[in-house]
Each structure stands twice: as C-alpha cells, then as structure tokens.
C-alpha cells in the first residue's frame, strides 16, 4: 500500500460524501471516532499497518428552532367573532427529536403589532392546538396542546384559536405572540420537561445540551425558545347616519322658495354612510313620522345617492306595504302605525345610500 500513484489530475466520483449533511447537524448523542493508519518499511521490508487508537467524542444536542407566522398578513376578523384561527409553523432545527411546549401571549395594549397595527384589546378564550398533519385547523382532530416528538428538520403547523372581543373599531388590532419552548422528546405521547442547557464545563463523554437558538420577537438568543407574533385586524362596518329635511313646496309659493307652512311638503332624507372596510348587512332604517305632519302615501324611496352632502332625491320607489312584490328591488319600504321602515339590506364598504320619504305639514 505504500506506493503513491503519481496522479496529477483525476476525476472523482461523487456520492461518497462522508457526513450526513442535515441542516440541523449530526444527530445528538452520536459518537464521532477517528482512527489513523501508518504503513512503513524497515530495511526495505514492508511492515504490517499499524492503527492508532480511536479518538472519539460525543455530539452535543444543539437546540434550535423557528416559529414563523403563516401567510405574512394579519388575520382579518370582525368584532365579536369566535374561534378565529391564526396559524404558525414550528420547525425543529435541532439535531435531535424534541417536544415543544407552546404558549400564546397577548401583546400589550398600545404596542405595534406584527403587521403594523396598534394593539387595542385582548382576545379571549385563547387556545393553542397542534395540526394533525393536514395543514388545516379542524377542532375535532387538532387537539394536541404541545408538539410531541418533532424530528430534526421537521415542521408542524400550530394554530392559535381565540375569540375577538366586541367594541373594537375598524382597523384596530389584537396582537399575540406564539412561543415554542424546546422540551425533552424522549417519550412518545408524553409532554417532555423543558430542556435546560448544560452549564459549566463540558461533561466528558456525555451529551451536553447547548442552546443555539436566535432571538425571537419576545425571547432572547440561546434560551431554548423562539417566538413570533401575529395579529388579528378588525375589519368592521362603521355606519354614519344623518338626516336632512327640506321643504319641497308650499300651497302659496309652489316650489319657488317654499316655506314650511301648513300644507307644505317636507322631504326627509336619511343618509347611511359606511366608513368601514366591510359591507354592513341587514341594515334597516326606521323613522317615526314627526308630530303635526302626515306621511305622503307611496313616497318612500330606497338606496338613493348623495352628491357633496346633498340628497339627490333619487332611489327606487317603494310601495307602503311590507311585501317586496311589485317593488323594483329587494329593499322593502313600508309605512305602518306612524313609522317609516326602509330595509337597505346591504351598504358596501365606503358606500353611501339614502332612504327618503315625504310628509305634509298639518
């Protein structure tokens, strides 16, 4: 074996790489051993090869993980919505199978949330569940509250499920942060204890635990934890309502500079403006015909428009009964017992619609 072939250049064959090049590194607890061999001659006679001792060491457990919000945007919710899901991916970048303990915490009110909102309230009934593998939250199947035995380099989805309180306005945010803590993953179907980094000097011949994790949103580097934040963004309809009255005509001046005298016709215009970011649905406007006035039969118009704050007196003419039959749209208008009711059904985001009716002064 002594003769060196005098090879100046050669083509090697790939595929004999010595290390298992896992992103998370060589498996914790492995023993790495080195043995060298020497060949030599004495007096021109080749001697048997001599091996060195096997120098070895144990691979430490290098604990590392990531938590990443899924989707890159806020979870859009309406006030009072129950069971709203915010998804994260937890990846074990350690060189060992580990359990991960999970905790969701509320961002402090007033702080800037994950996607630029301002935290304005706390979610309630907050729970954390681990996905069963289909990537979609399903309350019946996704019931685990900790990650059991996540293999090195494996990922799993985690869902934070929370109720959104009422009383939050359009655009306000509810922020929360998911923290995953590395825990012993030696036992299946059993929540392991949080890992503790080996302190002090290297323990000869045994596997040490080293925390190699980066700092997350609310945790420090090398603490065996990682955190990422997400936010619920309130998307709500905000209705501004105003009422405009104007005199259309009187018995003396007709329509020229009419005055509110007995016999004059008054038009009431109720303006519904949605300044929110989602449609307001099921919208019903009711107005009691003022005292000393008489409702003008068949004067209801629905879904009219406004120009520069002035009512255009347009819209679909409605009959006075509560039935839609014979009316041009699905927005019912009716008059009964001195009350005008206009069902505007839906006012889209940023839309302004009017409801109109007329009375005469007694």
């Amino acid at each position: 074996m002594t003769r060196f072939p005098r090879l100046l250049a050669m083509t090697a064959i790939a595929g004999l790489a010595s290390g298992g090049a896992w992103a998370s590194g060589t498996t914790a607890g492995s023993t790495i051993s080195n043995t060298a061999t020497v060949g030599y001659t004495v007096g021109g006679v080749q001697q048997p090869d001599v091996n060195s001792n096997a120098a070895s060491f144990v691979v430490d457990m290098l604990v590392n993980m990531s938590v990443a919000e899924v989707g890159g945007s806020a979870t859009v919710v309406v006030p009072g919505a129950a069971g709203q899901v915010s998804a994260f991916t937890v990846t074990n970048t350690s060189n060992s199978t580990l359990d991960f303990l999970l905790a969701a915490t509320q961002d402090a009110n007033g702080t800037t949330t994950a996607f630029g909102g301002t935290d304005a309230g706390n979610a309630t009934n907050v729970h954390v569940y681990v996905d069963d593998g289909d990537g979609v939250f399903n309350p019946a199947q996704d019931t685990a509250t900790y990650i059991d035995q996540l293999a090195a380099d494996a990922s799993v989805k985690v869902f934070v499920v929370a109720d959104i309180p009422f009383g939050l306005a359009n655009g306000e945010a509810v922020g929360l942060t998911l923290t995953a803590t590395a825990a012993s993953g030696t036992a299946a179907s059993s929540q392991g204890a949080a890992l503790v980094a080996t302190s002090g000097a290297d323990t000869p011949g045994s596997m040490d635990i080293v925390f190699g994790d980066a700092a997350g949103d609310t945790d420090s580097a090398n603490d065996g934890k990682y955190s990422d934040d997400d936010e619920y963004r309130i998307s709500s309809a905000t209705m501004l309502i105003s009422k405009i009255a104007r005199v259309l005509s009187d018995p003396f001046n007709g329509t020229t500079n009419p005055k509110p005298v007995p016999g004059a016709v008054i038009e009431y215009c109720i303006v519904m403006q949605n300044t929110g970011s989602v449609s307001a649905t099921g919208l019903i406007v009711t107005d009691t015909v003022p005292a000393h006035t008489t409702y003008v039969t068949g004067s209801i118009k629905s879904a009219g428009s406004v120009t520069s704050g002035a009512c255009n007196s347009d819209g679909a003419t409605e009959d006075d009964d509560a039935s839609d039959s014979g009316e041009p749209d699905t927005a019912t208008g009716s008059f009964a017992s001195g009350v005008v009711t206009v069902n505007l059904a839906t006012v889209a985001a940023s839309q302004t619609l009017t409801a109109l009716f007329r009375t005469t002064i007694d």
Partner: protein
C-alpha cells in the same frame, strides 16, 4: 484461512521487536475566547462532546519506538463521518481523496461530478487525507500531522 490470519497476527505481534512506529490520535475542540481587552484567544480543549458547527482539531502523533529507522512512512486518515475537512494544521500538504481513497491528488486537481456537472473539489468534499514522510524516521524520533474539521 483462519490459520493464515493467526499466522499474520503472530507476525504483527512479533514485528515490534524489529520496528515499531506507533500512532496516537487525539481530537481537540478549538474554542475562541474573547478577552476583556477586546482581543481573541484561540484555545484547544479536549473534545469530549462537540456541538454541530464547532471546529475540532484531529491530530495524529507518530513515533518510532524501535531501534531501526522506519522508511516510506505513509500516515493515512479517513475524515471521520459527519466531519468536514477545513484545513491542514500540521505535517505539510497531504494527498487528498474525495472518493473514499480510490483516487488521490492535490485538492486543486480533484473534481466532483454531481448531477452531470463537474466542479472543483472543496475541502469539505475530502474523504481521506494521507501524508508521506520523505525522510526515514530515526529511532526515537517523532512528529505529528493534524487537520481541522467542522462537525456537520
């Protein structure tokens, strides 16, 4: 066959009476200590347990414990599994192999063929190193070869 093996081992046992080159392998971990004055000190400590990404120094000391000079000394060291060669620390430039010892050469002359593409071999591709001592090792003389490697 068994007899032959026994015969060979008997010969090997007998060999030290004439010549005995001994090898001693050690693995040390290279750690960088930040000094209070801002300087950095590189220290070697015994590698009992090592985390992925850390650098270790694999050192092989040799000594001729016989009474005759040993010639044509070739020290061969496969890079242990899960370690990636970084550089050579002692013993001069060895010959390298990136295919488990089938072919050898200077690292700059070796190529890796992967997925139909050929590229120059890197230190991390090396599977074996071996040093050839050009001078005979006198009785009682000793030396060492060493390389650094990173734990995958």
């Amino acid at each position: 066959m068994k007899h032959l093996l026994l015969g060979l081992s008997a010969l090997a046992l007998a060999a030290p009476a004439f010549a005995d080159v001994r090898l001693s392998s050690t693995v040390q971990e290279e750690i960088v200590i930040q000094k209070p004055n801002g300087g950095r000190e590189v220290k070697l400590i015994p590698a009992d347990s090592v985390a992925p990404g850390d650098t270790v120094i694999v050192r092989v000391a040799y000594a001729n414990e016989s009474e005759k000079p040993a010639s044509d000394i070739v020290i061969s060291n496969p890079v242990p599994e899960h370690l990636s060669l970084v550089d050579i620390r002692e013993g001069g430039e060895p010959a390298y192999s990136v295919d488990g010892g089938e072919t050898w050469g200077a690292l700059s002359a070796l190529k890796i063929v992967s997925g139909g593409e050929t590229r120059a071999a890197k230190a991390a591709d090396v599977t074996n190193v071996r040093w050839r001592l050009t001078q005979p090792l006198a009785p009682g003389a000793s030396g060492a070869v060493a390389f650094s490697a990173r734990l995958d």
